[in-house]
Amino acid sequence: MKIRKSFRNLTSSFKAPVIAVIGGLLIGGIIMLISGFEPFSSYRALFDGAFGGKNSANLVGTLVRSAPIIGLALAASISFKAGFFNIGGEGQMVLGAITAAIIAIYAPFSAPITAVLAVLGAITVSGCYALIGAWLDIRFSIPLFISTLLLNYPANYFATYLANHPFRDLTTGEVQTQRIPAALQIPKIIPKTQFHAGILIIPILVFLAAYIFKYTKIGYKLRMCGYNKNFLTYGGVNTVKLEYGTLFISGALAGLIGVLEVFGMRYRYLPGMLTTPLYAWTAVTAAILANSNPIGVLFSGFLLAAIQNGGYGMERTSEVPREISRVIQAVIIMIVCAATGLKRKNVSSRKEG
């Protein structure tokens, strides 16, 4: 009885996302068909691009791509779960990345100290940047989703300015910073791929967050805050502090993901390296798809990374523009929204009775 109930809970929490993914692929197929592409072979190419390749090279590629998506989705989920809609992960990540890059290149210390400084600096800057949104919300009641979203723009402009002017690598023609010292570059653990050791930290963070939410006092407070902030205030919890704390952690985590991308992938900061792949937006999708559940984010983030990575493969072999994967992603969110909206409608009509 108990097992059956928990199984039912499990399947019901998976039902909406599964329908959404199938629906997204279906509508993506229809769009391809209308545009004159053959959907079945295109999707085969997408599947191959996501999981296939020589020695499963594409699967490793998908895993590598999923790392920042899952990390940022986790950052978003932490704030979503507590009822704070921080969608400024992009700006927070970018500031973390540029801060870490500058410290790594210019700090006159030994490699281990520099590494620690870079990480601390990055998460401080990113966390504090997220605090601006919290402050605007608390002080002026400006909705968090608007402030954090708009704060993405100045963060990007500022980071681009830094990479373009004071910290530009003048030896190359590109707008980018210098390379970070080799001692700070995170080693690759699968040869001939981009899979670096830093990626392993992501699942650890995911399980840590899941554990905190379920088994700790602060996790209890965050969940209650997400359900009803007034309830928590009334119970004597300082929700202002909680909002600042949550936003700081969420922002700091986004900053850490930026550090991983600099230290593990590109070894320098170049404008667009984090924004062009739409990591942050994909992460918001992943968080919504997983209903802000940390473990769920592991699956949804991987899935969306697979669709995106597959999109590149599909573009190479069947010439379907890879943007179709983003269209599919958008349709997935729409279906999830529709499903949760319908559920809420049903619940409220039942309540009215």
């Binding site: 989703f145 608007i146 992603q329 969110i333 949760t340 909206g341």
Partner: protein, 275 residues
């Protein structure tokens, strides 16, 4: 060229309303939704559809006005999707808004590559831009002339739209019902007003306004389509609508302020380039 900041330079004056118009039109759309009780953050997505539709229509119909109409239709189609999700499915409006934005930006890039076979930018001599119309008499007045005259028909129409939305809100039954539904949907329902219909009207009107805004961007300000060319104007429009307290006059003033500031920043950037 003069290196000082001359705010009375006719070229600068003329640029102000060119930059105001897309923000103003989108903000009017956002305002109608706000009044009806919808926080519509999909303006950016509607606008990019308008941009693309404008270019698409202009290219194939060989007419700028045709382009504007196609732009409005494409934007309204996206608005329809938003409406179905928001009204019929009761979806969370912020998340749906984000989804519609992602959908529109990605779809326009996808279509750019499948229809026009280019990436990044599409421009062509066959693309008809909107004509610049001079206002008689006004065009010869110093300062006022370059400021108000020498714009596309969409710019002039945007001013009329401010008046039209004012009349809509404060002189028509529909407007009264929109305001009522936004303030107290429960009460409206008991008085026999269909909230869904009012919401659909607001969402589609918003789509039309944003489509117009997008078409002005791709056929008025320039004559080309560039990926993500709406460039955050949809978000600025939301802020303008909030700042203008969802009142047509307020929205007009707020949008004008934002447009003025952005034309000023272009101006300063331009000067910096010469120094």
């Amino acid at each position: 060229m003069d290196n000082t900041l001359n705010l009375l330079d006719p070229i600068f004056l003329n640029s102000i309303f060119r930059l105001v118009t897309p923000i103003l039109l989108a903000a009017l759309g956002g305002m109608v939704c706000t009044r009806a009780g919808i926080v519509n953050i999909a303006l950016e997505g509607h606008m990019i559809m308008g941009c693309f539709g404008g270019v698409l229509g202009s290219y194939y119909l060989k007419s700028a006005i045709g382009g504007v109409l196609v732009g409005m239709i494409m934007s309204m189609l996206v608005a329809l999707i938003y409406g179905i999700l928001r009204v019929n499915f009761g979806a969370e409006e912020v998340v749906v808004g984000l989804a519609v934005n992602l959908f529109s930006t990605s779809l326009t890039v996808f279509l750019l590559r499948t229809i026009f076979k280019v990436t990044g930018t599409f421009s062509s001599p066959d693309l008809k831009g909107l004509k610049i119309l001079e206002l008689p008499i006004i065009k010869d007045i110093p300062i006022i002339g370059p400021l108000l005259s020498g714009h596309t028909i969409v710019v002039y129409f945007s001013w009329i739209c401010v008046a039209l939305t004012y009349i809509l809100f404060f002189n028509t039954t529909l407007g009264l019902r929109i305001r009522g539904v936004g303030e107290n949907p429960e009460a409206s329902k008991t008085l026999g007003i269909s909230i869904s219909k009012i919401h659909y009207f607001a969402i589609l009107l918003c789509g039309a306004f944003c489509g117009l805004a997008g078409a002005q961007l791709s056929l008025g300000n320039v004559t080309m389509f560039v990926e993500e060319m709406s460039g955050g104007r949809g978000w600025i429009a939301i802020v303008a609508s909030l700042l203008g307290q969802a009142h047509p006059i307020g929205v007009f003033l707020a949008s004008t302020l934002f447009g003025f500031v952005s034309s000023l920043s272009f101006r300063i950037q331009g000067l910096a380039g010469f120094v």
